[in-house]
């Protein structure tokens, strides 16, 4: 069977082109995608030797996340576990916040706005997306700072007496995470909603459905693939974000990726970092799959 496919493939593409395509794709899938992940998994299961030699197999690195260093006073590694839970929960909250914020604009662009208006809005949406992630975080840092715009306005309006530390309260961080991935939520939803036949909405309206029921019964069920694909991307990216927590995070709070970063750069224990990265990756995948099961979405719809 496989042989038949190969024969067919070569017939279709010719010897030179067919071979070139196969070489390139196996390099991408094999050497760039699969082998590094397996190598990281293998690495996380080994004892770390600073000399660069390969150590023996051990579950020590995973045990460290749950129970902490050997001989530690706490029975569990509360610090890292807390950061891990916080990261996951905050990423879910950011996703929900973005979903609520972006659904109306996706609907507006997909069904209401036409011609000139649509072009202008699309441009306004795209431009911020191509500004560097670091610079976007920097922009929020300027605004949320102690002498920043928001404090100045709030004090000017008499709501606050003295500057509120948004960065320490992590408000800047959540705003920054939501801000960074807002467009990844808008575009998949927009693509799907745009393809919805406007006549369906019209018909529902003619039959006397109030606007919220039109959304609940027609638009949202139709837009489910777009919603799930946007939500998946925002969740994965915010759980795996590094720039925003580093720039906007408070001094006492960490993001799980920051712990991984520390294991790699400051801590100098790559195996430990690899184990933490594997934990992050698998738990994100499990959560996404669970949500997809919950809302009955297929994997094939993601990324469309």
């Amino acid at each position: 069977m496989k042989n038949g496919f190969l024969k067919n493939f070569y017939q279709h593409n010719g010897k030179v082109m067919g071979t070139a395509l196969l070489v390139i794709i196996s390099f991408w899938i094999g050497v760039l995608i699969i082998l590094p992940q397996l190598s990281m998994l293998d690495y996380s299961l080994r004892e770390y030797l600073p000399s660069g030699e390969v150590g023996d197999y051990t579950l020590k690195n995973y045990r460290h996340l749950i129970y902490g260093a050997e001989g530690a006073s706490d029975p569990y590694n509360y610090v890292d576990l807390k950061v891990f839970m916080r990261t996951i929960i905050a990423a879910i909250c950011v996703t929900i916040f973005n979903l609520i914020l972006c659904y109306p604009i996706a609907f507006f662009l997909g069904q209401v706005a036409k011609g000139m208006k649509l072009r202008v809005f699309a441009l306004l949406l795209i431009i911020p997306y191509w500004i560097n992630e670091i610079l976007r975080a920097f922009a929020l840092k300027i605004i949320f700072g102690a002498t920043g715009m928001i404090n100045a306005v709030l004090i000017g309006m008499g709501i606050l007496d003295e500057p509120f530390d948004f960065i320490r309260a992590d408000i800047a961080l959540y705003a920054g995470l939501g801000y960074a991935y807002i467009l990844l939520m808008v575009f998949p939803m927009y693509n799907v909603i745009e393809s919805l036949d406007g006549n369906q909405i019209e018909a529902a309206r003619d039959l006397g459905a109030p606007w919220w029921r039109i959304h609940a019964r027609i638009v949202i069920p139709y837009a489910k693939p777009g919603i799930s694909s946007g939500a998946t991307m925002v969740f994965m990216l915010s759980a795996g974000a590094l720039a925003a927590p580093q720039i906007l995070g408070g001094p006492s709070s960490l993001w799980f990726t920051q712990i991984i970063y520390q294991w790699f750069n400051d801590g100098g224990n790559w195996s430990q970092g690899a184990a933490y990265a594997i934990v992050l990756l698998t738990s994100c995948i499990i959560i996404v799959l669970a949500f997809m099961k919950l809302f009955k979405v297929n994997m094939g719809d993601i990324g469309k």
């Binding site: 493939f9 593409n13 010719g14 010897k15 030179v16 082109m17 070139a20 395509l21 390139i24 794709i25 390099f27 991408w28 760039l32 995608i33 699969i34 590094p36 992940q37 190598s39 990281m40 914020l101 604009i105 507006f108 209401v112 072009r119 441009l123 795209i126 431009i127 191509w130 500004i131 560097n132 670091i134 975080a137 920097f138 922009a139 840092k141 300027i142 605004i143 700072g145 002498t147 715009m149 100045a152 801000y179 807002i182 606007w211 998946t232 991307m233 994965m236 990216l237 795996g240 974000a241 590094l242 720039a243 580093q246 990726t257 991984i260 970063y261 690899a274 990265a277 992050l280 990324g303």
Partner: protein, 433 residues
């Protein structure tokens, strides 16, 4: 009524949405022109281009830009090639394998960048050791690792763009070429590639931009070649400066410029397509340019943008922020010393008035000189110390309601503002100016 309410709330929502989206960028861009050392808008000091020249003198930023461009070019070449191969195979792959294949090649987009960076470093380090190469081999090189790590997921973006175009490709064209005696390679080069050209260009631009702004993967792989994003992140993490705002401003302008150009060209093509159905006169008439402008708002905006950039560049040549900054600094120092000086002046006036009154008094009662002598002595003493103003001057009783202010400000005033550190530096230049 309900309709009106909905309409208003939609516009309010749009306002909030775009304020959230664009507001921070606009504010950041504005702070690039404020001479205040902390990037801010509200205490506006003075309009300056100084942060731009500081930016262009920053070796690390320039080096970062260079590295970013090298990495970007490498990533574009690799990821467009792999994306094209991936797209071509997706259209041909055995249907039962398709879902699995699709999941594998899309996965890198969803895998956190941190994980991609780590796995790249770990894997190539192992390959390097396995081949017995030293730590300075190409496989451990920062540029190589960064390009490889970024291409892993950027190729997926490229593939998505290319697949969309490939789905509209007419396979019979390929067959026709083969029937007419072309080799597969020729058919690929002369038929498929030209057809794919627009999508290839789009994916190349996307790949370059994605590479340029990538942080999560690069931060593990960059080695000795920090890209611009890495340099920026380090600067932003350890203290912020308006020079970064200046860089952001340049990037924003370039982005707006690119987006408008793209939009204007697209619109122009559409207009031409629409016009090709019209009479020849309409297309080739003398009024073509204005017609294009009048129906192409993006082109107008683009021209306006170019004009503004040109004007501000000219302005930057002639604009002398030194004068302005000196003025602001002087103003700030002035403000600090103004009250003191005002008080000093008030005090001097009051003293002069008191002296005049006393002199008049002395002239009136000429014979009472023994009494006035200590009084004038007292007034000359107050001129020296002045700490208590003329509180003790016997003739000052009539101005008593002004007095309570004097003791408060007086401690600073007797020496003028000679000992004010700010005053020394600015008083001379401002006099010179």
């Amino acid at each position: 009524m309900n309709n009106l309410f909905l309409r208003v709330s939609i516009w309010v929502y749009l306002g909030i949405f775009f304020a959230y989206l664009l507001g921070p960028l606009v504010i950041m861009a504005i702070t690039a022109f404020n001479s205040n050392g902390f990037p801010s808008v509200s205490p506006w000091e003075c309009f300056t281009y100084a942060w731009f020249s500081e930016l262009f003198q920053d070796e690390r930023i320039l080096n970062g830009i260079k590295n970013s461009i090298i990495v970007g070019i490498g990533t574009v070449i690799m990821s467009v090639t792999m994306g094209l191969a991936g797209a071509l195979i997706l259209t041909q792959v055995w249907p039962k394998l398709r879902a699995t294949y699709y999941t594998i090649v899309i996965a890198p987009i969803l895998v956190p960048g941190v994980v991609l960076g780590i796995s790249t470093v770990v894997f190539w380090q192992r390959v390097n050791n396995w081949l017995g190469l030293g730590p300075d081999s190409i496989l451990a090189d920062g540029l190589f690792l960064t390009i490889i790590g970024q291409s892993t997921f950027i190729a997926s973006y490229c593939m998505l763009v290319l697949v969309a175009r490939l789905q509209r490709y007419d396979l019979t064209l390929n067959e026709a070429a083969l029937d007419l005696g072309a080799t597969h390679t020729q058919a690929f080069r002369k038929i498929l590639l030209p057809f794919m050209m627009p999508a290839l260009a789009t994916s190349a631009v996307l790949a370059f931009l994605a590479s340029f702004e990538n942080y999560n993967t690069t931060t593990f792989t960059f080695g000795d070649y920090p890209t611009l994003t890495i340099e920026l992140a380090q600067k932003v993490r350890y203290g912020i400066s308006p020079a970064i705002s200046a860089l952001a401003f340049i990037i924003i302008v370039l982005t707006v410029f690119g987006a408008l150009t793209n939009e204007a060209l697209k619109r122009r093509k559409e207009l031409q397509a629409a016009a090709s159905g019209d009479t020849v006169k309409k297309v080739d008439g003398g009024f073509r340019l204005p017609a294009i402008l009048s129906r192409n708002p993006a082109m107008i905006a683009l021209i306006a943008l170019v004009a503004v950039i040109g004007l501000s560049t000219v302005n930057a040549m002639s604009h002398n922020p030194a004068q302005c900054i000196a003025d602001v600094k002087e103003e700030r120092d002035m403000q600090r010393t103004l009250e003191a000086e005002a008080n000093l002046r008030a005090l001097a006036e009051r003293r002069a008035a008191a002296a005049a009154a006393r002199a008049a008094e002395a002239a009136a009662n000429g014979e009472a000189t023994e009494e006035t002598a200590p009084a004038t002595g007292g007034s000359s003493q107050t001129g020296g110390t002045g700490a208590f103003g003329n509180v003790f001057a016997p003739t000052n009783l009539d101005g008593a309601e002004e007095e309570p202010e004097a003791p408060e400000e007086a401690p600073a005033s007797p020496f003028g503002s000679v000992f004010d550190p700010g005053n020394l530096s600015t008083a001379e230049p401002s006099g010179g100016n």
